[in-house]
């Protein structure tokens, strides 16, 4: 049991990295990866929200959607949950942890529309993980997201100082970089048998 959870965690971080292998959450991956500091901020916010939302969505799936046989509402219910959860976290955090609220800043509301979060909640159900497994999967997945974001930010900080050929400047070099990074992460496939 224990070793399986560890393998699952590594699998979620490296082998099936949310951004670079599953291609979820590409928008923040390209949008908030200009500086390492902000990338870390965004990553932390995602780890927090993903873990919370996977707990709640798992409970809702198990105790509401399945018993009443309304699985087709999964997507809309999960979106509802994530949106309100992000809002709730924001309200509570502003009062109780102003320092953290300041640090996360604009990233919290941004997360509400992050597909990696919805994707993770749905993957939890699709892979029929139990409660503990889905939490581990959520933490692993979001750490993988943070890792990808920070790696990309590190590269882009360097890239800002490099002389890039004119046709490749801007978004195109970012996409090429992302592709190469993704290619590198594909190398992890087979590390863990999923």
């Amino acid at each position: 049991m224990g070793i399986e959870l560890v393998l699952m965690f590594i699998g979620a971080v490296l082998v099936n990295n949310f951004v670079l292998v599953r291609f979820l959450g590409i928008c923040p991956f390209l949008g908030v990866s200009k500086k390492v500091d902000t990338a870390i901020g965004m990553g932390m916010a995602v780890i927090f929200v993903v873990t919370m939302s996977s707990i709640v969505t798992w409970l809702v799936q198990k105790y509401i959607l399945v018993p009443y046989n309304i699985g087709f509402l999964q997507t809309i219910v999960f979106i509802l949950i994530i949106a309100s959860l992000v809002q709730l976290v924001e309200i509570v955090m502003e009062k109780s942890a102003p320092a953290l609220y300041e640090a996360l800043g604009v990233f919290l509301p941004l997360i509400a529309t992050n597909c990696a979060i919805l994707g993770l909640a749905i993957l939890n159900i699709q892979n029929s993980y139990n409660f503990i497994e889905s939490i581990i999967f959520a933490i692993g997945g979001s750490i993988g997201f943070t890792l990808a974001l920070v790696l990309m930010a590190g590269i882009r900080e360097r890239l800002a100082l490099a002389s890039v050929p004119k046709p490749l400047q801007g978004a195109s070099i970012s996409l090429i970089t992302a592709g190469l990074l993704s290619l590198a992460f594909m190398g992890f496939s087979g590390l863990v048998k999923m």
């Binding site: 959607l65 309304i70 809309i76 509802l80 509570v92």
Partner: protein
């Protein structure tokens, strides 16, 4: 099926709406209307001279924190200090205004370049390559990062490839200090009349080899100063402006002409 779906989705929505509503009541945050007033009074340049993250950060701090004084806004000068003092109910005070100076006199005519740099023309990129191509590793690289960073167009490059600060335009925000990879730009009080135009921590003999106007660490200025306002640190003279009485003896005594009059 339809009713169950409608009820459960509606129910969930209702629960979330209620919990959000309750949470916003419990965790209600009072926003002080004075913060908005202070925001409006500030120039909105977000230069960061006050030491806070933009004008909003300063507006919040000046209202909430009793220890934050209302005269930190450098570009706003007295007018805004008074306005902020009125809004926050604090005393305006004089405040010590500062301005930037370039602590290097080793222009193209005095210090050689060790190699030809063909990269992006800004100092941060140039400094990544072996610490820049100036013979003096502490000197101004002359690619004008500070010129670009200045929000008030107070810095220009002069004929010998050194930046020059226009003291009438400089508001002392310190933006240029952050971008200079060599730390050549420093802030001095606006009242200062002399400054050490060198940033080199090399030993005297080494300085002499590469730069005609560098501080060689002879300490003649220290001995000459009656007020003991000059100190030495890492082979470099520095002036303590609180003690300086503007006698300019140090400038006359300086063998390498590295103590200059503030332009």
């Amino acid at each position: 099926m339809f009713t169950i779906a409608a009820y459960s989705l509606g129910g969930l929505g209702l629960i979330f709406a209620l919990s959000l509503g309750i949470a916003s009541r419990i965790f209600h945050m009072e926003i002080d209307p004075r913060i908005e007033e202070a925001m409006e009074a500030l120039p909105g340049a977000n230069c960061g001279a006050c030491g806070f993250a933009g004008c909003k950060g300063y507006a919040e701090a000046v209202i909430k924190d009793p220890e934050v004084v209302p005269n930190l806004c450098a570009p706003g000068e007295e007018e805004i200090a008074k306005a902020l003092a009125k809004i926050s109910g604090k005393e305006a005070g004089a405040g010590d205004k500062k301005r930037a100076i370039i602590c290097c006199a080793g222009g193209e005519d005095k210090v050689e370049r060790t190699f030809t740099y063909e990269g992006i023309l800004d100092c941060e990129s140039a400094a990544i390559l072996y610490g820049g191509n100036k013979a003096c590793k502490y000197g101004c690289l002359g690619y004008g990062s500070c010129v670009k960073a200045c929000l008030f167009e107070a810095i220009e490059m002069n004929d010998i490839g050194l930046p020059q600060v226009d003291k009438n335009k400089c508001v002392g925000c310190g933006k240029c200090l952050d971008v200079c990879p060599k730390g050549v730009v420093k802030l001095v009080p606006v009242t200062a009349t002399v400054y050490v135009a060198c940033n080199s921590m090399n030993k005297g003999a080494q300085v002499k080899k590469i730069c005609a106007v560098g501080c060689i660490g002879c300490k003649l200025c220290v001995k000459a100063c009656e007020k003991e306002a000059i100190s030495f640190d890492n082979n470099l003279a520095s002036i303590n402006y609180q003690n300086c009485n503007d006698c300019r003896t140090c400038m006359e005594k300086c063998k390498s002409n590295s103590i200059n009059v503030c332009m």
